[in-house]
Amino acid sequence: MKLNINGQDTELNVSDDMPILWAIRDIAGLTGTKFGCGMAQCGACTIHLDGQAIRSCVTPVSAAVGKKITTIEAMQDDKVGQVVQAAWQEIDVVQCGYCQSGQIMSATSLLRQNPKPTDADIDNAMSGNICRCGTYQRIKAAIHEAAEKLA
């Protein structure tokens, strides 16, 4: 099966029903995208499919054929992603860090669609991403910071 991952066409020997998460982690070896729940409840596996944030743990690879998969590994080359990552460092968001790939993917998608999100907008867009370390306050601050930088 041919998948476009981070701008590169990649031939992967996987079955149609394999979730994108496992194709990119276990087959393509890109481990930045995380497994957290396997049922779209925690957001750790968030990637972009044609620029839209999706949960890769429940989306089969068949849904990605002919589309562009973008993972955390490509965010440093993404205009919005760079700014979001810089804000994350500025605010010192991370703790254990395991959920942060997904948080950054969701935040980047939010800021593309809504360059000036309110607190309520952020709550709505980010409440699907669980952080057990509870970095939510800093994530919110970092999204506001990134929005300001992007303006």
Partner: protein, 723 residues
């Protein structure tokens, strides 16, 4: 005043060259306590030299400074805090600092606990001297090497930002590393005074930030190498029961499945990747030997615990004649409190990669208890512990789940790799994690408090019912005294409210059960603080007194409690009116050597609780990284509030009801309050910060709910109790 440390008396120090060139500083500190004597004795070959670079600090010829962490980074920030201790004494260039997890080895044993462990909110205080000494000693060697090079006296030299200076002349630490490695180590070092610190006490950004935001940080889950297969274990749905039969015919037809093997905990499916392992496991047809076995049921447990709470238990603390004093009381408050089993549910599901060779075993995982895991693996494989290499990866959350005296997930992974005959990484699904046990135990508390006519407590009778975390583990000998597991009664038996009374009695019923239990962030305090601070609120209400004023009076001889209480009350504006519909609650609790006050601002609309703001004040002694302390308070609030609002593990017909984040609910961003953290300027002994913020969270919230609704919540989670 400077701190002179006589190193020769306390430590054995080695300064040696390492293979790639440069300087290695290694310490061996005699264990403060032979905490794990049983385990040590059971582990053969402990005294043999280890095939690992057992050092705290390496200075490379490229000027790199590598700090070896004796503790695990699981979000709490020790990846940054411990290097700060070294950097200050070493006058290091902060940009040259690299950090690595240390291997499992005697040199990294906890200075107070005697095993290699990250737990008890102890890393910073327990390493404060050892890591500063490593930095100071290294600096002394580098200065000596420079003095020898230039032919000048040591006294004429100074160090700055990674260089030794002699007037205009400089040599970098990297240039001096090899020369320093050949020198005899000094027996005395003088540690810096607080006014000389550049890092300690200053808010410092995390060193692990960059790799955790670009996907390159390696967690146990991310370990991949040629030949490594994925294993998933099917475990019994009823704890304490064993496998009866296996039909794996459908499993073996799943593309990517390699084999199915039996292990002590169940049946393991070995596959090329997770998806195949998962599909293969789903296709297993298993039966379990559950007849005649304990089948826990939450409703029945509650009945049983409640009944026992009214019976005398084993004494955990006693003074005076409590029964008599209760009879003479002007007012009596009697209440029962109930707390559920809780899962840690760290974001990174448990996993462990194991490669067994003829020479030994290598393990890659995120663990909080390296030497325990090492010992357990060695025992299974029949090899000496030093043959088992533990490569600690970043932990995607721990909260106690990755510190298991029974080494459950590591032992199981070793069994799987051994049975499979190939390197295997076991991966737990989220369902495995939620249903897999090692919970914060369920507890019922029953208390009767007698008060005088002025509303002051005079007698306190308190009975706890719950499972012991320690019973049946290697820690039993040290941590259970006269039948009392100290972690069951902590926060009650040692509470200042109780201990200050001439008449008090704390009793415990330790419940036998096959449900595995474990320390969950703040351990016993996670239930006891809720009960104690709710009870104090009940007393204040009975006495018709303001909750803060009432606590001030009871805690007048406890200055640290008072300091946090007063600071939080001031910052929250306790005496000032609130916007309409918002109500306040307060709680103060000491745990892990620190005292924290939480003030919650809450509204209740149509049975729904919203926590708007939390004001936190902490006295943890010296705050080495104040921003790290703030982050841990924010974290404790999120963790504690999520549990208080909605988390619960319950049992029906012997099985765990919950399975994933849809029914084991934790805090999400929309429910995160605005958090303000204030640190008491304190010269008290250093305490912990990873856990102490949590215990007062739930009672601050439920006390605010009482202020809002007049309804006293005596069980958690809050869930729909107000609907």
């Amino acid at each position: 005043m400077s701190t002179n440390i006589n190193l020769s008396r306390r430590t054995f120090i080695k300064a040696t060259a390492f293979v790639a060139g440069g300087l290695v500083i290694a310490f061996s500190i005699p264990y403060a306590k032979r905490f794990m004597q049983k385990e040590q004795a059971a582990a053969p070959g402990q005294d043999k030299p280890l095939p690992v670079p057992n050092a705290f600090l390496r200075i490379g010829t490229d000027d790199s400074i590598t700090v070896m962490l004796a503790h695990s980074e699981m979000g709490q920030g020790v990846w940054t805090t411990l290097p700060m201790l070294i950097a200050d004494e070493l006058d290091a260039d902060w940009s040259k600092i690299k950090v690595e997890h240390a291997p499992a080895a005697p040199d990294y044993i906890h200075t107070a606990y005697g095993i290699q462990i990250t737990g008890g909110s102890s890393t910073t205080w327990s390493e404060f001297d050892r890591y500063r000494q490593a930095g100071a000693l290294t600096r002394a060697l580098l200065i000596q090497a420079a003095a020898n090079t230039w032919g000048v006296a040591v006294d004429s030299l100074r160090t700055e930002n990674g260089f030794v200076r002699n007037g205009e002349q400089t040599l970098s630490y990297g240039q001096l590393a090899e020369k320093a490695a050949g020198l005899e180590t000094p027996t005395h070092v003088t540690l810096k005074t607080p006014d000389q610190w550049k890092f300690i006490g200053k808010p410092t950004r995390r060193l692990d930030s960059a790799e955790k935001i670009n996907g390159t940080a390696k967690f146990g889950q991310d370990i991949q190498f040629e030949g490594l297969k994925i294993g998933m274990v099917a475990r019994s749905p009823v704890f304490g029961t064993t496998l009866a039969s296996v039909d794996d015919s459908a499993t073996l037809k799943v593309s990517g499945v390699i084999k199915v093997v039996k292990v002590p905990t169940g049946v393991a499916v070995i596959a090329d990747h997770y998806w195949a392992a998962k599909q293969g496991r789903d296709a297993l047809k298993l039966t379990w030997q559950t007849e005649g076995k304990e089948k826990p049921d939450s409703a029945a447990l509650l009945k049983q615990y409640s009944a026992l709470a009214q019976q005398p238990g084993l004494s955990a603390a006693k003074a005076g004649d409590t029964a008599q004093a209760l009879k003479q009381a002007a007012h009596t408050v009697t209440a029962e409190y109930v707390l559920p089993y809780l899962s840690h549910a760290p974001m990174e599901p448990l996993n462990c990669a194991v490669k067994i060779t003829e020479d030994g075993c290598e393990i890659w995982t995120g663990t909080q208890m390296q030497t325990t895991d090492q010992g357990a693996a060695a025992k299974i494989l029949g090899m000496p512990p030093e043959k088992v290499m533990i490569h600690t990866q970043f932990l995607g959350g721990g909260f106690g789940r990755r510190a298991n005296p029974r080494a459950d997930f590591v032992s199981e992974a070793v069994e799987v790799a051994k049975a499979a005959g190939m390197p295997v990484k076991t991966v737990w699904s989220r369902e495995d994690d939620i249903k897999g046990g090692f919970y914060r135990p369920m507890f019922v508390h029953r208390a009767s408090i007698g008060m005088d006519a002025d509303g002051k407590p005079q007698a306190w009778q308190h009975t706890l019912v719950g499972q012991s975390i320690i019973l049946g583990t290697p820690f039993e000998k040290v941590m259970i005294k006269d039948g009392i597991d100290a972690t069951s009664v902590e926060g009650v038996a040692d509470s200042p409210y109780v201990k200050d009374l001439p008449n008090h009695q704390v009793e415990l019923h330790t419940m036998p059960s096959a449900v595995p239990v474990l320390w969950w962030r703040s351990v016993g305090h996670s239930h006891s603080a809720f009960v104690m601070e709710s009870l104090i609120d009940e007393l204040a209400h009975t006495a018709k007194q303001d909750p803060v004023a009432y606590r001030r009076q009871l805690l007048k001889n406890h200055p640290r409690h008072l300091a946090t209480l007063n600071l939080a009350a001031e910052k929250a504006g306790w005496d000032k009116p609130l916007p309409e519909g918002i109500f306040r609650g307060i709680a103060v609790h000491e745990s892990f050597g620190s005292v924290v006050t939480q003030i919650a601002e809450v509204s209740v609309k149509e049975g729904q609780v919203k926590v708007h703001r939390m004001v936190t004040a902490i006295d943890c002694g010296l705050a080495v990284n104040p921003d790290g302390v703030k982050a841990q308070m924010e974290s404790s609030i999120a963790f504690g509030l999520g549990a208080a609002l909605s988390s619960e593990i319950s049992f029906k017909d012997g099985e765990v009801v919950q399975s994933n984040f849809h029914d084991y609910q934790v805090l999400r961003m929309k429910d995160m309050p605005k958090v303000e953290v204030y640190i008491v300027q304190s010269s008290e002994k250093m305490g912990g910060v990873g856990e102490p913020g949590l215990p007062p969270v739930a009672p601050a919230v439920t006390n605010a709910i009482f202020a809002a609704t007049g309804k006293r919540l005596r069980s958690l989670p809050i869930a729909n109790q107000l609907a």
